[in-house]
C-alpha cells in the first residue's frame, strides 16, 4: 500500500479553490487548506510558493502556448497580426464555451481580493514579456515588439472579462474579434 495518497498537488488545488469560494481568500488560512487536504502546512508550501500561487498554476503552459503561436506565424506577418492570431488560437484552445463557468468562478475569487489581482497582473506582465521576446526573435524591432505584445495582452484581457461577464454562452473568439476591430478603429480615429 502506498504510503501517501497520490495526486497531492491536485488535491491541494481543489481544496484551495473550494475554500476560497466559500470563505474568501483572506478568510482561509493555509493551515486550514492543508488540513482539509489531509496534509501539513509545510507540504502546501512545497507545492506552491505562496498562498496566491495556487490559483495561477498552469500559467506556464498558457504562456508557452501564446509564445508558440507567435513564433509559428508565417514569416513576414506583421507583429500585431501575429499577436492577434496567437490570442485567437489560445482563446479557442483554453476558453471554449464549456469552460466559462469555471473561469467565472475563478475570476470572481480573484476580483474580490487586491492581492490576487496583483498576482494576476504580474502573470499577465510575464506573458507580455514572453510575447515581446518571441516577436523580437522573429525580427520585430523595439518598441514595436513591446507595444504589440502589450496591446495583445490588453485585448486578451478586455475580451476575457467581457466573455466571463456575458449572458449568452459561447466561445471567446467572436468577442475577441470585436475588441480587435474596436482597438484598430480607435487608433485610426485619433487626431
Amino acid at each position: 500500500m502506498a504510503r501517501w495518497q497520490p495526486g497531492t498537488r491536485e488535491r491541494l488545488q481543489a481544496t484551495t479553490l473550494a475554500l476560497f469560494a466559500e470563505q474568501g481568500f483572506e478568510g482561509t488560512t493555509v493551515a486550514e487548506i492543508a488540513s482539509r487536504a489531509g496534509l501539513t502546512e509545510r507540504t502546501f508550501f512545497r507545492y506552491f510558493a505562496d498562498k496566491r500561487e495556487v490559483l495561477f498554476a498552469g500559467q506556464d503552459e498558457f504562456e508557452a502556448t501564446f509564445v508558440e503561436h507567435v513564433a509559428a506565424a508565417p514569416p513576414g506577418t506583421e507583429p500585431f497580426a501575429a499577436v492577434t492570431r496567437a490570442i485567437r488560437a489560445v482563446a479557442t484552445d483554453f476558453f471554449p464555451a464549456g469552460r466559462r463557468a469555471y473561469s467565472r468562478q475563478r475570476q470572481t475569487i480573484i476580483d474580490a481580493n487586491p492581492g490576487l489581482r496583483e498576482r494576476e497582473l504580474l502573470k499577465l506582465s510575464g506573458l507580455t514579456g514572453a510575447m515581446a521576446t518571441a516577436l523580437r526573435e522573429r525580427g520585430t524591432p523595439e518598441p514595436a515588439a513591446v507595444l504589440s505584445a502589450e496591446c495583445g495582452v490588453t485585448i486578451f484581457r478586455v475580451a476575457f472579462s467581457r466573455w466571463v461577464a456575458a449572458n449568452e454562452d459561447g466561445g471567446m473568439v467572436p468577442i475577441l474579434d470585436d475588441v480587435v476591430a474596436e482597438l484598430r478603429a480607435l487608433a485610426a480615429r485619433a487626431a
Copy 2:
C-alpha cells in the same frame, strides 16, 4: 517643545527609500526602518498600509492629474486623443529632465523585486480604471473607454521605461510622442 518630531511621514519615506536602495526590499525589515526613523513598527503601519506602499505614496495625486486632464479635453475630442493629451500633460508636470535620477533610483528598486512590481502593476491598473471612468463620463461608450485607457497606460509605461533607461537627459515628452506614433502605425499596418 513639541512632544514628537514633525514630518513623520516624510521621515519614514526617506528612510525607507534609503534602506531599500542600500539593502534591497527583502533585506530591510519594517522594524529597521522604524527604528532608524526614530519610531516604532506600529507607527509605520499607521502611516502605510504595508511595507510596499511607501514607494507608492502620492499615487492618488498622480492619478487625479490624469483624470483631470482627460475630463478637461475639449468636447468632441476622440477618446484616444484625450488620453494621449493627458499623458503628455502629466509627463510634463511630473517627469521633467531634473526628476530622472530620482525616478531611476525608485524604478531600480521596484524592478528588483516581484512584490513591488506587483504593487506597481496594481496601481497602474487603478489608473487605467480611473481614466476609463473619466472617459465614460464624457460619453465614450464601452469598450472604447477601457481600450483607450489601457492603451494610454501602456504608452505611458513604455515611454517611461525608455525615458528612465535613456542616456541623454531630457524630458519624457519626445519619447512619448514617438511611442504614440509607433502604436498608431502598428495598428494601422496590421492585416
